[in-house]
Assembly symmetry: C2
Homo-oligomer: 349 residues x 2
DNA sequence: TTTTAATATGCAATCGATTGTTTAAAATTA
DNA sequence: TAATTTTAAACAATCGATTGCATATTAAAA
């Protein structure tokens, strides 16, 4: 019972003995159409189960009403939430979302972005992969290419700083600073840092916050307490084992990269019989759902992910409206929130 | 520096003094084109940064190369994973995904589906919302409408049984049966069931598995141990309080609806000082990430979500190939796996 | 009653790519 | 050399909707 052929405005037009243009005008409620014939057209469209062909419409109008989103992983809480936020806004505006995941792979990211450019999307929203080194030459050519095509580009969270685009980020440095300050308040003296790949700005900023907090509180920066590239659960665990093996091990660990990394820390601590938070304080980053479920629950930083997604989407529509007053570059910074849980609370209230 | 106008095959054609048709043939590698001119065309296309306008191409070819996906929530682990799986397959085939979330709301689901039909997507993949009661009259009209438009419809996990479509499901009854059998093996005698809205087939099947297992093991079905509509964390907790308040409370609870519900059970147990698994066994459903992080970790059922997504996507392409041998209805059932963790293990090995 | 303005609708081009049909040129065969 | 086949490229229609312009009709103003 498959109707191979779909109803078009021509079908409606010929059935009623009018022209397609009138049908179009009636359907779009534009220009002059007699009230009676308009009603008739609308009724007939309904009867014939007419659905506008968006391809044709958008081709004519020169827009695709489609927004492309590229994230490292869609099944990661933070990104899934951002996407949910974006979707909520764009859906209401009648825009569609094309979702791609880079899987933290540079080549897949490039390919995804190119596909979206090919699709003539109106806007590309991206959080770059860990392999997208913004310092390296030509490494961001695919993003520059987006701009060259006159497509709006919005970066969020993991952004390539030097590219002049719209950006929505968290104030990572501030959040990091607050987390460390809180730990110092709790009496921790040797706070270690698990840092992420420094080619990503977010990880540099988080490190800066850490350094700044130590400095402000007159505490020394101890090199052996800073572990590079510990941004997965496994690497976090590995880093923790290394730290605990030191002659003077830390009494707190800030897993600045993610909650997954913090989870690695917690698991090693548990396995080694080290008490959290008494002997070791732990703080993660992102406020993944599981952080309040672990035992003890993990102190972390909430990035208002759904809200971030909404902000990104709204930014697009807002910029679209004042397309004449072109803002080449604009950054919105959202202040994240420190969520204090058991893993860093060793003082009685 | 925004090039308002993008390069088209006409630009390439006029620059080289050939016709657009030749350019098209060269680009698509079809028909006759002189090897030399083809090279020239390809080179010029590259130089002018040409990108095919997919809208025009698809309009002409009568396909959209786009697949729509509707799920209750994209930021829920199970669905995010399924989508990741779908994306992995469709991306390789050059298809795009339009993602919509119904937010468990019937009206939003209808609206989403209609939008996708409007978009002339080639296929719609859906897991229906909890409000989509397949028994009620006309409640699935929006899905029937998809079929009427000749659009392929694939349902997964939460399916409307009576609709003749392709389906990919889990063998819920079997999984449920195994879970209960395992609990009986562990010596639990009074096993309660937290059931989900019975208008959804998956929840009916899970209940059936529960009943079947009790029967097979010669255990009575006790009505007061079956709690209706306990499918969120809060409702799960509420149900648990009710169960624990019975004169003869259960010694195990199967949260057949979700791991979130199981989490509610666990939290109430902890708060009440009831020991898990010694005094109370708990089993969830879905193998959410957090189930191995809680203390104690939660026994649950893995649905192979990513794999399910891949299966759905592959099913589409497969059916597309033998479009002549139209399979109106076809169901693929994936056998889920019981993941035994601490929350139900009270016997020494 | 004539002029002007407002309304209704038709005509035809356009968006960019694809493709069946023709025509022209080159290569092959008889 | 003429007839036939193969290759190359142009021509023109098509996909479905939109829209500027032209024409016709009606209503309002002079």
């Amino acid at each position: 019972m498959k109707p191979k052929k779909r109803t078009t405005i021509y079908d409606i037009a010929s059935k009623l003995g009018v022209t397609p243009s009138s049908v179009s005008r009636a359907l779009n409620n534009t220009g002059y159409v007699n009230e009676t014939t308009k009603k008739l057209i609308l009724k007939t469209a309904e009867e014939l189960n007419y659905k506008r062909n968006i391809l044709a419409s958008n081709l004519r109008k020169g827009e695709s009403k489609t927004i492309g989103v590229v994230v490292p992983r869609i099944n990661q809480n933070f990104f899934a939430n951002v996407i949910a936020g974006i979707e909520e806004v764009t859906y209401k505006k009648g825009y569609n979302l094309i979702i791609c995941q880079s899987n933290e792979d540079y080549d897949k990211e490039v390919q995804s972005v190119n596909t979206l450019v090919n699709q003539h999307v109106d806007c590309i929203i991206i959080s770059i992969s860990v392999e997208t080194n913004s310092d390296e030459t030509n490494n961001c050519r695919h993003l520059q290419n987006v701009l060259d095509h006159g497509i709006q580009l919005i970066q969020f969270d993991r952004v390539a700083d030097e590219l002049e685009t719209l950006k929505v980020i968290n104030d990572n440095e501030q959040a990091s600073y607050e987390a460390i300050s809180h730990m110092i308040d709790q009496g921790y003296k040797r706070i270690a840092l698990l840092e992420g790949p420094q080619n990503l700005a977010i990880f540099r900023q988080r490190k800066n916050g850490y350094l700044l907090a130590l400095e402000k509180h007159g505490m020394p920066v101890i090199d052996e307490l800073v572990i590079e590239n510990a941004w997965t659960k496994e690497l976090g665990a590995e880093g923790t084992r290394k730290l605990l093996g030191l002659t003077e091990p830390p009494d707190a660990i800030f897993a600045s990269t993610s909650d997954f990394s913090a989870l690695g820390v917690l698991e090693v601590a548990m396995a080694t019989g080290i008490q959290v938070p008494r002997q070791l304080g732990i703080c993660g980053y992102s406020n993944e759902d599981f952080t309040e479920l672990t035992y003890p629950s993990i102190t972390t930083i909430d990035q208002y992910s759904v809200n971030m997604g909404k902000t990104v989407a709204n930014l697009y529509f807002q910029e679209r409206e004042n397309a004449d007053t072109v803002a080449v570059s604009k950054t919105i910074s959202i202040k994240p929130k420190l969520i204090i849980r058991s893993s860093t609370q060793r003082l009685k209230e």
